[in-house]
Symmetry: C2
Subunit: 212 residues, 2 copies
């Protein structure tokens, strides 16, 4: 089973990669913008996405943990700033599915990444809230139009910290970090399970607000 | 109290306008792209938004019911198609708030429009699902950064039909249309009430799916 893991060198990507490596039936193609990976691609470019798929050939799953957004106060934000996240985390991930659906094997799956900031915002990350909101709802709409048993889900990780030191005064103000293992399980469930059009929220319910 | 009503000639805009006219304390400035309105502006252009605000001067509320998206099957969709809704319904409405926040009176409000397609998609309208999802979550993130008591909400209308003929075989497949009066009440509540960062879903609960 061939899986393309994009954003393999980021915090989330490393968590997924270290877990997927344990499964002999999974053949992983790692991708990043500039890391030491099998392939190099920037998802904000549709052309680079097409080149990536052409190099990989047939595959069964895409797991994307790449996508950037602008960070800064709303008072200083411009349209150009907003387009950083629109082009990368929103349109980049949509293009991974929109272009990839013509290459993926029957019954394959796409797993994209949103994040808690759409439902439980913090200051300075409006661009993430917008891009994540677009992605949370894109997967649902796309799921009813995909053919050949192809699935698409989003994983929405909570507050993920690389090396948690127990301090509460992070930008996420008191949020309790989510377990790396739980994050990995959600990506595995999305990629190899049965559901489609879903948002798998890997949240710490005691301190993360689940918006109605 | 001065209210800018954008998209005043559309189905939703006409519903809002006919109701707001009943209140003597509300001075309405109507705006559309090409209609018989007080001002002409296309919200997909940040420049035209700036010109609109400059012409209006001081105001207390913006209600936007404008914003277009591309309609068509996912199988035929391109990145360019997706950007129709991103530039108009998503970025256009974000720009109304991002630019307008520097002009609006203290305690003023912005009301933007999403719609049920983010939470209860139908085929052929992925662009709406993406743009509406961006807007549903933008208002929440923006609400925690706006100053001077300025509020921002979205109204998410359900299936709105101009002249309902009782037929179920619409593109929304069996959805029972929502009452025009209820739609107008939600915009009024958003514009003149107390809450911020909310999505007012004006849905018919018997046939519209409320996604978790």
């Amino acid at each position: 089973m061939k899986v393309i893991l994009i954003g393999a060198t980021g915090i989330i990507g490393k968590i997924i990669l270290s877990q997927l490596k344990k499964y002999e039936d999974i053949d992983i193609v790692t991708v990043s913008r500039k890391g030491n990976t099998d392939l190099i691609a920037d998802i904000s470019s549709a052309e680079q996405i097409r080149e990536m798929y052409a190099k990989v050939g047939k595959f069964d799953a895409v797991i994307n943990a790449a996508g950037e957004c602008w960070i800064g106060p709303f008072a200083e934000m411009t349209e150009e700033n907003m387009y950083v996240g629109i082009k990368s985390k929103a349109m980049g991930q949509i293009n991974l599915v929109m272009i990839g659906k013509d290459y993926i094997n029957d019954g394959g799956s796409f797993t994209v990444t949103s994040g808690f900031l759409s439902d439980d915002p913090i200051k300075g990350t409006i661009n993430y809230s917008v891009a994540n909101g677009a992605i949370d709802n894109f997967v649902f709409a796309a799921s009813i139009e995909l053919k050949r048993g192809i699935r698409v889900n989003a994983v929405s990780p909570g507050w993920v910290v690389e090396n948690y030191d127990g301090k509460m005064n992070s930008p996420a103000v008191g949020q309790y970090p989510v377990s790396h293992d739980k994050v990995a399980h959600a990506y595995y469930k999305s990629a190899f399970g049965y559901l489609t059009g879903q948002v798998f929220r890997v949240w710490e319910p005691s301190t993360q607000y689940i918006r109605k």
